[in-house]
């Protein structure tokens, strides 16, 4: 860890963006599994996918890589932020009015909220599953597995939870919107011709991902 | 007192510098470490010299007023730097650059120095490119050139409109490299207030730390001043706010002769004065005259209507415009030297044809160039200047012609130095705008940058060694000696005296009053009566200053008013010497235009018989008039002629 602290600012940023991009690909995978709940109201596909994710040894290893990714992304984010606060011990009376990217100013806050959400989220699903508190799902030909889908559906019938979930995902969307192009900038992957495309893609990505995640509880809730 | 010995080496002019270098004394590498050098100023001259001397292995201490060496006034130069590379294949050569510079200076510069300048000009460009200076290039990847006033060839290298900045940053980076290496020690926010002499030689300086207010002593085997010009005597000029002649003036008062103080350059293309609160004038680079055409309305009635705001310049028909430079000087047109262009503008405005609400402005019009080349070409060439103009004047120069008027810009005069750039105080060297050496009575555009870097990179590192060769046995100086003690005491007394006045008028107010006297009488056109009046008025103002100036605040800590007061106190003395020199020089030459001495067409009329000399003034004491020494100028390689820009 002391090593992480002594990394140069740019090294930290490079790691930050690599982990970030990695987490963004994970979000895509996660979303595509969630969407199965919409396409297959019987929850079978979703449960198969969840089962696969929960039992496949490769994925099991990968899961720890993912946690590490989150961990480093968060730790680095916090270190960077603390250093940034320290770089200006006395602030301005008049807050900055210069035009800049808005979401970027609140990355630490959106990030922290996402972190809290993550813990709750893990508590809701992952921990229950670890404890074996998930109902069984029986489907002829599919074999024995847990009914993770039911867990989700039940949660998404709870008004409070849906509101909470939607808000959290909107915040995540803001986080992603800045994160996408920012990662490319940090990695030095910019170019006159392609950067506008990457920026557009970033907005597209964050909108699609956010909308995708949000639409699921809404449909389930109103179904 | 010392006779002026210019120490110009023997031999044909083209071989003098080579011969000098071949026979000069050098300091062996191991001994260089034993020698300390003080460099005051981090402009092109000081910065380049400090870096080069550090590279050679000397212990260098370098000082500047600003918070960083990168902010020296050289940063503001816009247009470009000359060199005799002849890349455009248009007939340039070392001789032609030399010839143009001497002629441009109206035959009042020292031949050998100018030749050397032209000779090393090419090395400067090579050096800067190697440092990573991003000069403008053509599509083939080679360097681009533009033309400047006073030349029939394109020999000016440039980096957009920020050539001075890029050259200075080059010198600054070289300096930074040496600071890192430890050979140069940097002292910022320090102002040199006096020179310390031991046994007649310059051995140190007294500086004021502008942050703490403390006086500091620094000793060395030799002192180099690269402290820039004294244009701010006029209050309003294109110079930076802290540009001052103080260091050179202190050297003068310690025995260094001051040469040609009246040779001041008035730049034709500056943004006109707009109000009495104005603090400085902004230059619009001479390069604009490449594509801009200068004119005023032919009819006085039109001019009057424009002054009242009843008519716009764009409403004046082509045949009612007087392109007076093209009319008077067909061969050089809008590219005549600065002194000629400035006087022509003044002449038109005095005759009632001036524009702007004051009537003290002429037009610089890009209409034709935009039509011919397209707006984007003009934008690429001068975009930043146009933007600067628009921010200040609030008018778009792509659509309405720019308004310009002459302003004080550069001082050709300065500390008298010999061929080695050594002043009459042994061990005191002076480079860049602070010395008088290369531009005679008028400097051509893009030649100051050339001179600053030539002095700094290629001349002083040699000539200073020649002096230092026999100094290696002199141990490092202690600054506890009586000479340091005494000089510091005198500086302290000067400061105390300023505070003691405790009057009721601000420093700036005195400075402005001095500026008015100077501009009205010692400016673009001078005459005997005005100069005599200026001298009495300056003396009177000086007396008043010492009775009524108000310097608030403390002696310790940062005190900007005190800094200004010290500078203005020196300006008040310097201004008088400038007027005296102008009064004594009964001829017109270059930037020095005496109304009594002009041709029928209103051109400057030199008196070569009586004034082909450098006027070097010696300080004789506060209450005694300065004493004039003359260094005769001998032209062996150039035929001295009436300057003619009408035909090629």
């Amino acid at each position: 860890m002391s090593n992480t602290l002594s990394y140069s600012s740019i090294t930290k940023k490079i790691w930050m963006s690599l982990f970030g991009l990695f987490l963004m690909t994970f979000l895509v995978v996660h979303l595509s599994i969630n969407l199965l709940l919409l396409f297959d109201p019987s929850r079978e596909l979703f449960n198969i996918a969840a089962h696969f994710m929960g039992t496949n040894p490769l994925i099991q290893i990968f899961q720890w890589v993912l946690f590490a990714g989150f961990g480093f992304h968060i730790i680095l984010g916090v270190i960077l932020q603390i250093q940034n606060w320290m770089a200006r011990p006395k602030g301005y009376k008049v807050k900055g009015t210069s035009e800049d990217s808005v979401f970027s100013k609140y990355m630490i806050y959106t990030g922290m909220i996402i972190f809290v959400f993550l813990i709750i989220h893990l508590g809701n699903f992952f921990v229950l599953k670890m404890q074996g508190d998930v109902p069984e799902f029986h489907q002829p030909g599919a074999g024995e597995m847990e009914d993770m889908g039911l867990l989700v559906v039940n949660l998404f019938r709870n008004t409070g939870y849906v509101i909470f979930y939607v808000i959290m995902l909107l915040l995540m969307g803001f986080h992603l919107d800045h994160a996408f192009q920012s990662a490319f900038q940090s990695l030095g992957l910019t170019h006159n011709k392609y950067t506008p495309f990457i920026k557009g893609l970033g907005h597209f990505y964050s909108i699609v991902i956010t909308a995708g995640y949000i639409i699921i509880p809404l449909i389930i809730y109103f179904r | 007192m010392a006779k002026l010995d210019s120490k110009v080496p023997e031999g044909p002019i083209a071989e003098k510098w080579t011969n000098y270098k071949a026979h000069q004394n050098l300091v062996n590498p191991a001994n260089k470490r034993k020698v300390d050098i003080i460099v005051v100023g981090t402009g092109l001259a000081g910065g380049a010299a400090a870096a080069s001397l550090g590279e050679l292995g000397f212990n260098v201490k370098v000082f500047c007023i600003q918070d960083s060496p990168r902010r020296a006034h050289s940063i503001a130069a816009q247009g470009g730097i000359n060199a005799a590379k002849n890349y455009p294949n248009d007939g340039d050569s070392v001789y032609r650059l030399f010839y143009d510079t001497v002629k441009g200076g109206d035959y009042r510069a020292r031949e050998a120095n100018v030749y050397r300048l032209a000779e090393v000009s090419n090395n400067i460009i090579d050096q800067c490119v190697a440092q990573g200076v991003p000069f403008a290039r053509e599509y083939g990847g080679l360097l681009d050139n533009r033309s400047f006033g006073g030349a029939l060839v394109s020999r000016t290298f440039y980096a957009r409109g920020q050539t001075g900045q890029q050259l200075l940053l080059g010198a600054y980076s070289a300096l930074s490299k040496e600071i890192k290496k430890g050979s140069v020690e940097l002292f910022t926010r320090r102002e040199m207030l006096d020179i310390v002499k031991i046994d007649g030689k310059a051995r140190g300086i007294i500086v004021r730390n502008l942050v703490t207010g403390e006086l500091e002593r620094h000793g060395a085997h030799a002192v180099l001043l690269g402290t820039g010009g004294y244009g701010n005597v006029f209050f309003l000029s294109t110079n930076a706010m802290t540009s001052n002649g103080g260091a050179a003036w202190r050297a003068y008062k310690r025995g260094a002769f001051f040469a040609n103080p009246s040779f001041v350059q008035i730049h034709p293309t500056c943004i006109p004065v707009h109000g009495d609160y104005q603090s400085k004038l902004t230059l619009m680079s001479e390069s604009l005259r490449n594509d801009g055409r200068i004119w005023v309305p032919k009819k006085k009635e039109d001019a009057q209507k424009i002054q009242k705001g009843e008519l716009r310049p764009t409403q004046i028909a082509e045949e009612d415009r007087d392109y007076y430079l093209e009319r008077r000087y067909p061969a050089f047109g809008n590219l005549v030297p600065r002194d000629v262009a400035s006087r022509a503008a003044k002449e038109r405005c005095d005759a009632g044809h001036g524009v702007g609400n004051t009537g003290l402005a002429v037009y610089l019009d890009f209409k034709d160039a935009i039509e011919r080349l397209g707006r984007n070409v003009i934008e690429a060439r001068y975009g930043n200047l146009f933007q600067m103009y628009e921010k200040i004047v609030d008018e778009n120069p792509y659509e309405t012609p720019m308004m310009i008027y002459p302003a004080i810009h550069y001082t050709m005069g300065g500390t008298w130095v010999d061929y080695e750039l050594q002043s009459t105080i042994p061990g005191l060297f002076v480079g860049g705008e602070a010395n008088f050496s290369d531009h005679g009575a008028n400097r051509l555009g893009a030649s100051a940058l050339m001179q600053g870097l030539s002095d700094g990179y290629f001349v002083l590192p040699y000539t200073m060694q020649n002096y230092l060769a026999d100094q290696i046995t002199v141990p490092h100086f202690s600054t506890d000696g009586p000479e340091f003690e005494q000089t510091e005491k005198e500086v302290q007394e000067r400061i105390d005296k300023l505070f003691a006045v405790n009057g009721d008028e601000t420093v700036d107010s005195f400075h402005k009053r001095l500026g008015h006297i100077m501009w009205d009488n010692v400016g673009m056109a001078r005459n005997k009566e005005g100069l005599e009046k200026a001298i009495t008025e300056i003396q009177q103002l000086r007396k008043e200053f010492w009775q009524r100036v108000k310097v608030p605040g403390e002696k310790t800590g940062m005190n900007v008013e005190l800094e200004k007061a010290l500078r203005v106190a020196d300006f008040l003395e310097q201004g008088e010497l400038m007027a005296l020199d102008a009064l004594t020089r009964n001829e017109s030459s270059g930037g020095h235009f005496r109304e009594e001495y002009q041709t029928k067409e209103g051109e400057a009329l030199r008196d070569d018989k009586n004034f082909t000399h450098v006027a070097a003034w010696e300080y004789m004491g506060d209450d005694k008039p300065a004493k004039l020494h003359k260094e005769p100028l001998v032209y062996e390689n150039i035929e001295v002629k009436q300057r003619n820009y009408k035909t090629a």
Binding site: S8, I10, K13, I14, N84, A87, R88, Y92, K93, G96, S98, E99, D100, S101, S104, Q185, S186, L187, G188, T190 | S52, S68, R70, R71, H73, I75, A76, K85, Y87, I125, C128, V129, A130, Q131, G132, V133, P134, G140, G141, L143, Q162, Y172, S176, K177, M241, G275, Y277, Q278, S279, K280, T282, M388, I392, F458, T506, K550, P552, G557, V560, E561
Partner: protein, 246 residues
């Protein structure tokens, strides 16, 4: 026009500072912002008070000496200019103008609105140069340089080192300043030779001095008087990455 000014006054580096209010009257809209400050100072001196200390020199936007954080924006409410080029026509009669010094740990206040920016010099000393000595260099036209690259290098080299980027950045990061110098040299064959060492050393120095980290907020680019592009930061990141892995 008349204005109410709220100006940060601080006697010295260690002194406690505070905002002080001043009224200035009859200011011409053609006056520059610093000329307005001059007028205020003249009045203060006439009253026997100490004038407000602020940095300035060239007054034409090139030396980088002037600073001032005006109403929440370095160099005030205009784009692509420095404070000395800001004109009063950008303000409204009766407006309140809050003037603060640059705020960043590596830029301590010296007095009032003046800060110490020598940290920038230290970064340049860490590697912002090409290690050639005077003399013995090849002819200037010996190496042709693509015009495009020469132009990009010039864009980056236009930096005046004023520190507005640091002042505007919510993290007080110096990345735009550092990357401009790194880019200038990285784009030119003369600078390429030492490119790897240069970027590592300059970034290391920047970190040690206590500037913040870049979070790609781009406030720096928005306030830069010379409109230095943040693509320089990306280029520096790239240069740094390549230097680290090679």
């Amino acid at each position: 026009m008349d204005l109410k000014l709220k100006i940060w006054r601080q006697q010295g580096p260690d002194a406690q500072g505070k905002f002080v209010e001043y009224l200035v009257q009859n200011i011409s809209s053609d006056a520059s912002f610093l000329e307005m400050m001059d007028i205020l100072n003249e009045e203060l001196v006439a009253k026997g008070e100490e004038p407000v200390a602020f940095d300035h020199d060239c007054r034409e936007g090139i030396c980088g000496m002037c600073s001032l954080y005006i109403n929440g924006r370095p160099h005030g409410p205009d784009t692509a200019i420095t404070t000395c080029q800001l004109h009063m026509r950008k303000f409204k009669d009766g407006e309140t103008v809050v003037i603060e010094p640059w705020r960043a740990k590596p830029f301590p206040v010296i007095k009032d609105l003046m800060v110490d920016r020598s940290a920038f010099d230290e970064i340049i000393q860490a590697g912002g140069y090409v290690s050639v000595n005077t003399g013995g260099v090849p002819d200037a036209n010996a190496i042709p340089i693509k015009k495009e690259n020469a132009d990009l290098a010039m864009d980056a080299a236009a930096c005046i080192g004023c520190g507005a980027c640091v002042a505007a950045c919510k993290n007080a990061s110096a990345m735009l300043f550092v990357s401009a110098k790194v880019s200038q040299f990285a784009l030119l064959p003369q600078g390429r030779v030492e490119a790897n060492n240069r970027v590592e050393n300059m970034v290391a120095k920047m970190d040690v001095l206590g500037f913040g980290n870049c979070t790609n907020t781009y406030a720096c680019e928005a306030v830069c008087p010379k409109e230095i592009s943040i693509t320089n930061i990306a280029r520096m990141n790239r240069e740094f990455f390549v230097a680290k892995i090679s």
